[in-house]
Structures are given as C-alpha cells and as structure tokens.
C-alpha cells in the first residue's frame, strides 16, 4: 500500500504555527497507531495563501483549509480510512493550466526519447499522413490560436496568407529574440522542451509549403542555443528533419541564426534583415513577410510560445484547444511574474484568469505584505494596470481596453515603493536606447519625451509638460515606422491615465511619494530617535554621515547621493525621508 502523507503549512500572515500543529498531528497519528502508514511533513509552500492552516493529503491531493486543533483527530481518522471531509475541503482552487510548459520540468530536454514518451512527433506524423496542408490550416483555425509574440494575430490566418502566396521557396522563422526586460518564457521553453518548438515549425512548414526554417535566437541565451542545437541533431539523426521526413514526400531543414540582442531585431522586418546579414532595422509594411519576407520570399514569423502550442493542438484537436480560454482569446498564456511578488517565476494560466488570481493566488501576494499599486504587462510596449482593475481577466481584448497589452508575457508587480514617473522613465529610456534611429518620430520624439520625464522627476516640471507628453505620444504612435516607436509611449500614456496625481505631485509639490526620484528627497537624522549605534555611518558608501557619540550624527546633504542605505539599515527609524 502506498503511504499517505499529510503536508501542512500555516498560510496566515501572523506567527507561523506550523510546528505546533505538526506535533498535534503526530500525537493524533500515534493515538490511532498509524505511524507506519501516515507521515506528517511541514511543507515550505503549498501554493495556497492566506487560508489559515492548510493541509494537503498525498497521493489523493485533497486539500483542507482553515484547520484548527479541533479538526486534527477527525482529519487523521479520515485519512486513515480513506474518507474525505467535505466541510473542510478547499473548493475553487486557482490552478495553472499547462499546455506550452507541459513538458518543461518534466522531461529531460536533452533526451529525445523522453519527448517521444509524451507523444512527441506524433503530431507531425498525423499532419503528414492524415491531413492535407489546407486541412492543417483548417484545424488551426478551429483552435483559435493567436500569436503569443505580442500582437495576437490569428496564427491560421498568417499561415494561410503564406500558403496562398506564390513562391518557389518559402520560409518559417521562429522568433526567439525575446528582448522585453523581465521576460524569459521563450528561453525556458527552448531550454526545457526544444523539440516541441521544432515540431511546431515543421508542421508550419508543411502547412505553408516551406522547405527551410530558421531559429532566430539571441546570443545571450547560450544554454537555449546549446539545447536547440542538440535537439536538431537528434531529430536529423532519426529522420524527423531533413529529406523525406518519416518516409513521406515532405522535406524540411532547420538552422539556427544568432541575434546580437538588439530589441528592435524582434520586430519581424528587422529580424528578416538581420538573418539576411544586413543591419537589423525595420522596413515599411506592406509588403508583409507572408508575401515578401526573407530573401523576398513568402515567410512566416512565429513566436516560440505560439509554436510550442502547435503539437499539442494536433495531439488533442483544435476543438479541445478552443474549449480553453475566453471567447476571443483561446488557450493559455505564459507569464514571467517578477517584481514585488513572493513567488516570482513562470506561470501558465488559461486565458480569462484574473490578474488578481495570478498575483495573489498563484504568486502568493506582494512581498513583505506591502500594498500593491499596479501590475505592468507588455514590457516597454505595454502599460500599467492599477489596483482597481485587478479583477480584469487576462485576454488580448481586456488588456487593450485598459491601455496595456498582453505583450510577450512579462508581468511586473509594483508596490507602494515604486514611483510611476520613475517606471515610465525606465521603459521609455529602454526604447530610446533600443531605437534604431531610422525614423524621426521615434528617434526625436522618444528623446524629447525622456527629457521631459527627467525634468519632472527632478522637480523642474511644469503642468503643461503633461500636455506635451500627450502630443508627442500621438505623433510617435501615428508616424513611427515600426511598432517599437508606435508603442514606446504606452507606458507613459498609461501611467498618466491612472496616476495623474502622482505626476502632479512631482510637478506642483515637488514630492515623490515612493522616494524614488532622488532629486526630490532628502534624508535627515532625528536626534531624538537616534541611539548613536553608528550603523548608518559604517554603511554610507560615500561617508556623508559624520559626528560622534556625544553630539550625534548628521548627513552632509552635499555629499549624500540619496541611495537610501541609511534609511534601510537604521533599526530605530531615526532616519527620516522628506
């Protein structure tokens, strides 16, 4: 008989009672003499938060919440008899749904046999022998899959444009440039399940009639490159790539191209130029790559995550896929949840899950029990979602309505210590640095907006600057050549929309609520609270704090660089930030 295990964890905010509860459980188990068949273990994390003492029973996976000492005997007896206590059971549990990450962390990415054991490459076999290219595209239409690289363009439509374009050569390109700060979903997929992307690309090649494909991976991802190279080798050796795949008439070759890590090279026309060996700058569209792409031949460019979905769709069917998600956004989305969140990491949820559930139920809430202020999605092309809209379900449409975008999947949690002017400055600076400079609206507009933001954060701003920001934003959105410039103002527009007061505070009161804008703050020592422990003196990196035990200490404002180190280390709250 398999042993039963009771995992326990106190998920409340106050003192941790896990150990006390454990001893009560131990006693209850001893009382019925079940030491051999039931083990009680303290867990580090059960993925459930703020529900009092929680127990989870393995291997049954039943979860009971809000346990107190009165329930313990009852639970132990039920576990012993194999019964379930309905009244304590946790219902409505927020779970991740894993399609893209189905094999990540499960199989050995360097061993193709393990991918086979999960039904790997049976989808390409099914497409080659049972379906015509047109039927493959039809199944994709049924699935409702939309691009995960940012814009959310229906994948089947892109494929059918390329399939219907005339050309003796066609190309499939996997966009693994992933340049958004804070995002690393694509890297994890390539590192954890490279064969799923290869299989997706091969199916795409069959559907549009391409014989060649390219992985465009940024050179900063050496492990991803190594694992894709290894996977390609294994697939070639077994006849899953190359000539006459699986003995069919279809032949398909895949190669890797390395990108130098410029954000703009993730844009499809710049990416194409880069593969061709030219300077990676965007070109006007139309013509779209599906008509005239790589080497002027019809090409499709899909994101890593988009491609990783495809073999799952053909294993389980387009209908299955479209049963997950919302009306217009099907399937799942992977987010890299970072920032002020307890459990930073990769989260894959069914579309339609609320942002609140992601942050609080899967992410475990905000670090150090601080107040959440906003959540940023879409990276430098996206925007912030303020706390009041946290119930919004994740879908392309809902996020756009709020002035943000789904983007490729960065999700950054921000708390009361984050300044919205500073955040928008950060993202805009990223775009200014990464702008290729080819067109004036982006090159000049971005720079001008950044100078205005700098002015505001230094307390030199004027109220009319907010209008100016809006006007330049509009010009950039309308007149920039590529989406980098068109979307660069988004973080500024969205923070202006939801946090206008905070901008005004910087401009009128010359104050930064979060204490991030260094020109607007000053640190001083309150002599009444100071215990003369000298901790701040030893920690100050620029030796700006002087004095002695008798007379107390002061901060030399000329020398102070406002790093906040003294504020953090003082144990007596004697350092004031004003």
């Amino acid at each position: 008989m398999e042993k039963k295990v009771i995992l326990i964890k106190d998920t409340g905010f106050k003192s941790d009672t896990t150990r006390d509860i454990q001893s009560l459980f131990l006693k209850a188990i001893r009382d019925i003499g079940a030491e051999e068949s039931i083990q009680i273990v303290r867990a580090a994390d059960l993925g459930i938060y703020n529900q009092g003492v929680v127990v989870k029973i393995l291997p049954d996976n039943t979860v009971y919440t809000h346990i107190n000492s009165d329930n313990i005997d009852q639970i132990v007896k039920a576990v012993h008899k194999g019964e379930v206590l309905e009244n304590l059971l946790l219902k409505d549990r927020v779970e991740q749904t894993r399609i893209v990450l189905r094999n990540c962390g499960v199989i050995d990415p360097e061993n193709i046999e393990e991918y086979f054991s999960k039904g790997g490459y049976t989808s390409i076999a099914k497409c080659l022998f049972d379906l015509t290219p047109a039927k493959v595209i039809k199944e994709m239409k049924k699935s409702g899959l939309r691009g995960r690289g940012g814009a959310g363009f229906p994948t089947w439509m892109k494929w059918s444009f390329a399939a219907n374009s005339f050309g003796d050569e066609k190309y499939v390109i996997c966009n693994a440039d992933e340049g958004d700060p804070g995002a690393y979903m694509d890297r994890s997929v390539l590192e954890g399940d490279p064969h799923s992307v290869i299989e997706g690309m091969t199916i795409a090649g069959y559907a549009i009639g391409a014989k060649h494909g390219y992985f465009y991976i940024r050179a900063e991802y050496p492990l991803a490159i190594e694992r894709v190279e290894n996977a390609l080798k294994q697939a070639y050796e077994r006849g899953l790539l190359g000539k006459n795949i699986l003995g069919s008439d279809f032949s398909f070759d895949l190669e890797i191209r390395l990108g130098a890590g410029a954000f703009v090279c993730g844009e499809e026309t710049a990416l194409i130029a880069s593969i061709e060996g030219k300077r990676g700058t965007p070109n006007p569209r139309p013509p779209y790559p599906t008509d005239s792409g790589l080497w002027k031949k019809p090409s499709i460019i899909n994101n890593v995550e988009t491609l990783a979905n495809i073999s799952a769709i053909f294993q389980k069917g387009g209908d299955w896929f479209s049963s997950i998600g919302t009306e217009k956004s099907k399937g799942t989305k992977v987010f890299a949840v970072t920032g002020k969140v307890k459990n930073s990491g990769l989260v894959e949820i069914a579309m339609g899950t609320s942002i609140k559930d992601i942050v609080y139920n899967i992410g475990g809430g905000v670090l150090n029990e601080k107040q959440l202020v906003a959540v940023q999605t879409g990276g430098p092309s996206g925007g912030v979602i303020p706390k009041k809209h946290l119930d919004t379900p994740v879908s392309y449409e809902h996020l756009q309505e709020l002035g943000s975008i789904m983007g490729s999947g960065g999700m950054i949690v921000m708390d009361e210590d984050d300044c919205m002017v500073d955040i928008s400055k950060f993202y805009l600076k990223f775009c200014v640095d990464e702008s290729c400079g080819k067109c004036a609206p982006c090159r000049i507009g971005g720079y001008q907006m950044l100078s205005i933001l700098n002015k505001i954060s230094e307390g030199e701003g004027e109220l009319e600057d907010m209008d100016k920001l809006h006007r330049i934003s509009q010009a950039m959105q309308k007149a920039s050549l590529c989406a980098l410039g068109q979307t660069a103002p988004n973080p500024v527009i969205s923070t202006l929309r939801y946090f206008e007061d905070e901008y005004k505070q910087h401009i009128i009161d010359k104050k930064c609520r979060a204490g991030k804008c260094s020109k607007l703050i000053q640190y001083t020592i309150n002599p009444d609270k100071c215990k003369r422990c000298r901790l701040c003196v030893t920690n100050c990196p620029v030796s700006a704090i002087t004095g002695d035990r008798e007379h107390g200490y002061t901060i030399d404002q000329e020398k102070c660089i406002r790093c906040g180190r003294c504020f953090e280390v003082c144990k007596f709250e004697a350092i004031a930030r004003v």
Binding site: A43, D45, E95, V106, F116, G120, A125, G192, R238
Partner: protein, 116 residues
C-alpha cells in the same frame, strides 16, 4: 542511425522511458544560476558511491524560479514531490531521509497546483 517511421513514434509514445525511481534536477538557466549544477553533481556522485537504485536526471524549468534549485523526487511507495531551495546539505538529507529512509524532508516541499 535508423530513420524512424510513424509506427516507431507511436510505439515510443506508449513507453514510459523514465524509471519509477528518480531525482530530477531543474537545470535551466534559472536553476543553474541558483546552484543546480552543484546539486546535480552531488546527487550523481552520492548515488553512485552508495549504490542507490535511483535515476538522477536533469530537466527544464518548472516555473518556480523563486524556489530554485528545484528537485523532484520519486521513490517507490511514496508519492512524487518537489523540493525547493535545495542546497548541498538539503540534497544529502533528501538522499538519506527520503530516498533511503522513505520519509519526506521537512520545510522544503513546494507543491505547485498545476493541471496538465
């Protein structure tokens, strides 16, 4: 190497090539940055020197980056579980208490609610 056919693939899909006793170490960039390589090495070495019948293998990122290095352990008679924050010391405890002693290690189990 022999080229595969559709039948071969379908046969492979029936195989569960993973053994029933395993220790899987999350070895993507995030895991390696947190020290997963050392953890992997220590498992591999100890399993060999102590002649324990368990398969030590590497895998990708399970998504729990805050808890890296992450290790999944399955031994006969016990449900598979995930351990997080696995240092060399914890790795040795896992081998002694969990793999050999068949008792889970306290304070390191991370349970992730996932539907596949």
């Amino acid at each position: 190497m022999k080229k595969m056919t559709r039948d071969d693939l379908e046969k492979c899909a029936q195989n569960t090539c993973q053994s029933t006793q395993y220790i899987k170490v999350g070895m993507s960039t995030c895991g390696i940055a947190a020290g997963a390589q050392d953890v992997f090495d220590i498992f591999a070495k100890e399993v060999k020197t102590r002649d324990i019948n368990v398969n030590v293998c590497k895998t990708g990122c399970i998504g729990m980056c805050h808890a890296e290095p992450v290790v999944e352990v399955a031994v006969e008679g016990l449900p598979a579980v995930m351990y997080g924050g696995v240092t060399k010391e914890v790795a040795l405890r896992i081998l002694e208490e969990h793999v050999c002693g068949k008792r889970f290690v306290n304070d390191h189990i991370f349970d992730l609610p996932v539907r596949r």
